[in-house]
Symmetry: C2
Subunit: 373 residues, 2 copies
DNA sequence: TCAGGAGGTGGGAGCGCTCCCACTGGAAGC
DNA sequence: GCTTCCAGTGGGAGCGCTCCCACCTCCTGA
């Protein structure tokens, strides 16, 4: 199905076929004069063959020496190292990739309706964590935003062409077009956060429901009885799980949960959601926001409405990103280990690439109490 | 020099040479029985040869058809397309890269002392912009954080091995180790923001000094006479240029510039800088902060000190990122087109890769007046 | 004494693509 | 009628690496 959607032209080059030419060959004049080719100034990178020749060994030996493989005498190994230094040789990663069938790269795909989703500092933290783990495995990070038609097409192409050794998928929504692609690809896939209505084989997630429950329990423990929820997108599992946690906590306390007041994890959506909430339930005295951005938006609306936080309304967020500390008052929030999320995703992917069978992981959250509740 | 620093082992594989094996060959039992190899279930991806065979054409024709090159009859072109569809063929990017000598990827390198630099939402915006432009050129984005020893080593390796078609370099500091590497690499390099004390051939920058000047002029126009500067890192050109702009504006107005109160572009550093400023100059009535993060920190310190913003102290930031609107009061700030910065860097790189000679670009800034000044 | 390793070595066949080039046949030009 | 041209075609040589395998040389131990 996804297959059918892909035009041939898109899979392959689209008209700009002149791209495919050996560089510097087409326009260099044919060598007709008899001058021995002493040196051609725009020198190519030296190849392994040249290293081998200079070191007086075969290409095989040079290759083994380079890769620290056994079966190379000390003398030849040193000769190779010397030649490498003299020639300034650096192995060609593409050639290596072709021979080994390993690209040396892992892709991080962020799904979304439009690219602005990536502006959330959440992803930056994931990347910091993933990069650390990928460095250890000597893999490069390819970053793909599947947040435009073109972007999604390219991700599809990547998945089908094995353009990387593995993929990390994040921020999938319900019925995300990436999901079928992920299922039919032949490369290892790790999910960051579970997709709605699907149980992927490998994922790293955060205890969203547990964190939300703890946050809500905190509000209840502070004597709040009319606690509302400003939800994130409910077509994401994170948005749903956080609402579930909130609801469970209230039910357990014998209080009535509010219906979900949906937003989209952004500050403006939090402000808007808070405004409607205030209009419909002026007596609300506690708010659990699905993330810090929305909590910050709520703070803004409350301030404009003249409500004091936490005196009139207590607010709890989720994420514990920088905004939580910048907000006024600083946000009580559910800390989630975002860098660890990225790191563990990458680790899981690496072990998958190495043929191991890791098990899914759910990372714990922890309530950070500040002034807002 | 940078050459000498690189150990051989690091350039090549370091001991884990078992990585380099044909997958599924080492551990598949040798085919000794006489059964004709009807089908091996874990089927390889189809190759161009198989497509050609199925379409009844030569590999050359199939390749041309795929790349939309001329010299292919309509009939054969269609036959190839049919074969591609039937086989589910997807070109192997690595093989293509080896043959064309083009990797199909561009690298974005973010320099820094430690990876947390990447947490600044600034980079996320750059990436959104760069991705858009890279998509148009059908290039993938490789993201490299040169913010650890390992990270820097890998960037060095990338630069020397032509592991990408080009590089975008950001956040370089004075005497950044990336600078000599960038000079000696053979691939196109575009700088995002000029490095201190170097005039790269190709860069995209923002009018930092102009923006800072405008921001300071705004403070002066509002009647502030004791205007201080909370600086960003002064080993970056952005940090310096913004201070210069501030200073020039004050001198032009006949006022005394404050000595630079240095921070590092983070919120805590802004808070700290504001605290010392307040201790040394309790009568300050205007503050130009080198970016919004630092301005937010300043806001926090002022609030804790009981100073009203903007009544007692007016504050202006720089960047116009989300935090500027979340801050209380919302920040008057210098808007810089960060996505455009990323987009233009990528465009410049693409044109460089295509053999053109683009010219450096300086993007304009614009003052956004909100409540803080 | 000779079999049996084990360390060392290089040849060569890939990996899957692009693109040069030599060749074909039919249309156009004279 | 001939040459000239050009769209169309396929063979084959790369691109720069890895790794299988055959072989060679010592060094063991029986």
């Amino acid at each position: 199905m996804a297959e059918a959607e892909l035009e041939l032209k898109e899979l392959c080059g689209d008209g700009n076929w002149k791209r495919y030419q050996y560089p510097g060959v087409a326009n260099s004049p044919p060598v007709t004069d008899s001058r021995s080719m002493a040196e051609d100034p725009p020198r190519r990178q030296p190849t392994l063959d040249e290293v081998a020749e200079r070191a007086g060994v075969s290409r095989s030996v040079a290759s083994r020496a380079l890769n620290n493989a056994p079966h190379v005498s000390r003398a030849k190994r040193e000769a190779v190292e010397r030649a490498v230094r003299q020639l300034g040789y650096v192995p060609n990663p593409t050639a290596r990739a072709l021979a080994t069938q390993q690209t040396g790269a892992a892709a991080l795909v962020v799904s979304g309706e439009d690219p602005s989703i990536f502006a959330d500092p959440f992803f930056a933290q994931v990347i910091v964590g993933a990069t650390a783990a990928l460095e250890d495995a000597d893999l490069h990070l390819m970053l793909c935003l599947a947040a435009s038609d073109r972007g999604r097409k390219r991700v599809a192409e990547l998945l089908r062409s094995r353009g990387a050794d593995g993929v990390m998928l994040m921020a999938l929504r319900e019925d995300d077009p990436l999901l079928p692609l992920a299922e039919e690809t032949r490369m290892p896939v790790v999910f960051g956060g579970r997709p709605v209505g699907a149980a992927p084989r490998w994922y790293v997630d955060v205890d969203n429901a547990g964190g939300a429950r703890e946050a809500t329990e905190h509000l209840v423990a502070r004597g709040r009885t009319r606690v509302a929820a400003l939800c994130g997108r409910l077509d994401t599992e994170a948005g749903r799980a956080r609402y579930r946690g909130y609801r469970d906590a209230l039910l357990a306390a014998g209080l009535d949960p509010f219906p979900p007041q949906e937003g989209d994890f952004t500050e403006p959506s939090g402000a808007a959601a808070m405004a409607t909430l205030l209009a419909n339930h002026p007596d609300v005295d506690g708010v659990f926001a699905a993330n810090d951005n929305m909590a910050a938006g709520a703070l803004r609306t409350l301030r404009e409405a003249g409500r004091l936080v936490p005196d009139d309304v207590a607010v709890v967020g989720f994420d514990d990103l920088a905004v939580a500390q910048i907000a006024d008052p600083p946000l009580t929030t559910v800390h989630q280990p975002i860098q660890a999320l990225g790191r563990e995703m990458a680790r899981m992917l690496v072990s998958l690439v190495n043929g191991q069978e890791p098990t899914p992981l759910i990372l714990p959250t922890r309530l950070v109490v500040r002034a807002s509740a």
